[in-house]
Symmetry: C2
Subunit: 453 residues, 2 copies
């Protein structure tokens, strides 16, 4: 197996200058997909056998593939997928397939739930989201105050009176937003998407995204104006906030009213596969709209899943439901996202000692900060630890904060690496922790039930 992999890797030398291989890009996409899907399933299988979530197996399969180059510097097959800016055609293709993958996953997760279900846990989700933003922000601020003691020179050069509190604020903000992809996969792997804790966390993650956007806009604006020596335009922040909140409300309200009518029209068509295509167009449409509103596109995909319900498809008089049709597409696309996420982990970034201090601090702030979330849940019979652990992963939202901070100059290379490591660690520790806490809560509930009898 390893020998034949090595053969594949050396068979397709990548031109380092242009990062474009001599092999037809589409053929290289096929080769990438073969290796990615094959190792994803192998990783998932191994982890399921040791009672761990499949998604962790896929992530680690990706880390191994991406970092094979550390073992043998000739194994550069996956290097094009790891570039900071993708230029290789096949790598761009895989990147787009991966991003469609996470959209399909959130759509699938949304389909498992409904607007009604979400409304039932709405207040808890809102409280969880708010606490999950405030506490990590404060903790991140103090970690930064501990490790970052001076304003970078390039900022002082343009703005001599720049206040160091702005930097602490930005790092605190990078710890706020929850990335829902990992948590959703763990609940799905365990068949627990319907449980109360899952609904609270998913709802909170969506609200978190809106809050995170507002904080990012506010903090960026404060930093920009501090750098420029001008004051902050409150109007801009209010505008962004209204767009984001408006999108979510609009999508849910209009979606609920419009989709049954749209489906009635679509049911009159004769073409094969129209049910699936209509659902996918709604999913992609809301994803694009969410992105236009400044939110993560996956929030739109989740909203699309929420407003679409199995009943809308009854018109098509088919015995195959929409979930059955989306599932094979998800099986193909979703692992690409998680393996690609693993491939992009540069293990060598863990080896820099000066980064380890601040990243350790950020990781502790990130893990502890979200545990406060569990305390504000209103419902009884909810495992508060599961809610707190489900909110841990930071994912791409944290990375967006880091890269914006870098472009503003408040985040230097060391802090950037530290934030990246924090994102990686929060992503990788969540699946086993969450699986453990769900099982523990279910055992406890069974015991209490037995006692009650």
């Amino acid at each position: 197996m390893v020998a034949s992999l090595a053969l594949v890797f050396q068979r397709f030398p990548v031109n380092e200058a242009s990062m474009v291989s001599e092999v037809d890009p589409v053929v290289r996409v096929l080769l990438y997909l073969i290796v990615i899907l094959g190792t994803a399933k192998l990783g998932a299988e191994l982890f399921e056998r040791i009672k761990q979530p499949a998604v962790l197996g896929e992530l680690i399969a990706g880390v191994i593939l991406g970092n094979l180059v550390l073992v043998n510097h000739n194994w550069i097959f996956f290097e094009p997928l790891r570039a900071a800016v993708l230029t290789d055609h096949a790598a761009i293709g895989i990147d787009i397939l991966a991003k469609i993958g996470i959209i399909i996953l959130l759509f699938e997760v949304g389909l498992e739930s409904s607007v009604k279900d979400m409304r039932r846990v709405g207040i808890s989700s809102f409280l969880v989201a708010t606490v999950g933003v405030i506490v990590p922000f404060v903790l991140g601020y103090f970690v930064s105050a501990l490790f970052v003691t001076q304003v970078p020179k390039q900022i002082l050069a343009i703005s001599p009176n720049f206040n160091i509190h702005n930097i602490h604020m930005f790092i605190g903000a990078a710890l706020c937003a929850t990335s829902v992809g990992i948590t959703a996969r763990v609940f799905q792997d365990m068949g627990r998407i319907q449980m109360l804790e899952a609904r609270i966390v998913l709802g909170a993650a969506v609200i978190d995204d809106v809050l995170g956007l507002i904080i990012l806009a506010t903090v960026s604006a404060i930093v920009s104006s501090a750098e420029a020596g001008t004051s902050l335009s409150l109007l801009e922040i209010v505008k962004l906030t209204l767009i984001a909140v408006g999108f979510l409300m609009g999508a849910l309200i209009i979606g609920t009213l419009l989709i049954p009518r749209l489906m009635k029209v679509a049911a009159k068509f004769k073409t094969q596969g129209l049910m699936l295509i209509t659902a996918i167009i709604i999913c992609f449409g809301l994803s694009a709209l969410a992105s236009e509103a400044g939110l993560a596109s996956i929030v739109g995909a989740f909203a699309a899943g929420l407003v679409l319900e199995e009943i809308h498809f009854k018109e098509f008089a088919s015995d195959v439901g929409i979930k059955d049709l989306i599932q094979p597409i998800a099986i193909l696309f979703v692992p690409i996202f998680f393996v690609q996420m693993g491939i992009q982990v540069h293990l060598e970034s863990f080896m820099v000692p000066s980064v380890l201090g601040i990243s350790g601090g950020l990781i502790i702030a990130a893990l502890i900060g979200k545990q406060a979330c569990g305390l504000v849940v209103r419902e009884k019979n909810v495992d508060r630890l599961t809610v707190g652990l489900g909110m841990i992963p930071r994912g791409e939202v944290g990375l967006i904060f880091a890269s914006i901070g870098k472009s503003l100059g408040v985040v230097d290379d060391e802090i950037f690496s530290a934030i990246v490591i924090m994102v990686i660690v929060t992503t990788f520790v969540t699946p086993p922790l969450l699986k453990w806490s769900i099982s523990r809560a279910e055992r406890k509930a069974q015991l209490e039930k037995a006692k009650g009898k």
Copy 2:
């Protein structure tokens, strides 16, 4: 509808210099997919209502989308998809999705058939393929002799004794190879993949691809050596031929022996979706291998479908067959290929008068040339016209010939445009002609049956 489309088109201005839009590439991929899938289904629906194959509706939907820029020069939303060399990230993404689409289609078509079925019509397929290569070659040669009267100056500059017969030979060769995608879709749209004519044509198209490769290698080598003033290496041609034939034989023999064992191993895994992923890995693997052997990757996908049979999946003890799992993926991917094919048609190329003469000649040669195929079918009760019409589309194989000829200098811009127009016309006339001839043959068969009674 048109007004809102116009809005979308103007909302996302494409930077003409870099061909990269300001909008996130993934979001633009989603927007492309929404418009492509939406109009594909609309086109398919309209054409099915007027009793035409759905695939023609998808092609024409693409032509309209791609050429909207002729109506209003601000509607450049699709321009990045029409560039000769794709540079825009979103366009590269769509291109790769489209090419995965045609691979999935041929895999699906292959699944509908089996090695045993193909062997039964093997001799007829071989005869059809051989005639379908020789006759168009000869006709194309004469059309070229009629229209091309002098060797291009840039060739004479490097090789004063260059024989003009080499050019005629190249143009003749460009008319040989059948592109099976369109024909397969028409048989599929009509639910006739199992009919004898379909099996003969599909088999012949695969053999055609091998013959086409040998001819391309031979003719290119002759032209190259004529340009260089050296003689042709026969060894090179024999080598390429053996690789291509060896691939097909090897894939079919090893596949038939190996896959049942592979499936027995895979059946021991517990992970969800392994049946589908295993099938897709086999499909992508044979596609990549075919491409490595110098064949079209879709030949590999078809071979993968042939060697995989429903029975192999019985081990998984699932009530959902592999065809049911591939279908939703095909519904999503396949229309992207046909719409993208339409988008890439530049209608303005039809307007150049000097091109119209030679393209008219080539179209006639291409249409008539393949009709000889029907005459050599050995089986009785076969509609010979359906076989001949099914062999008409030239598709991407003809385009590959044209572009290699252009790089060798034997195909100038006018001949190149003429070959492109020939490919477009053969692609667009096949669906209605084929549908008509299949219906006609079936009516005739019913009539004879009625008479027999």
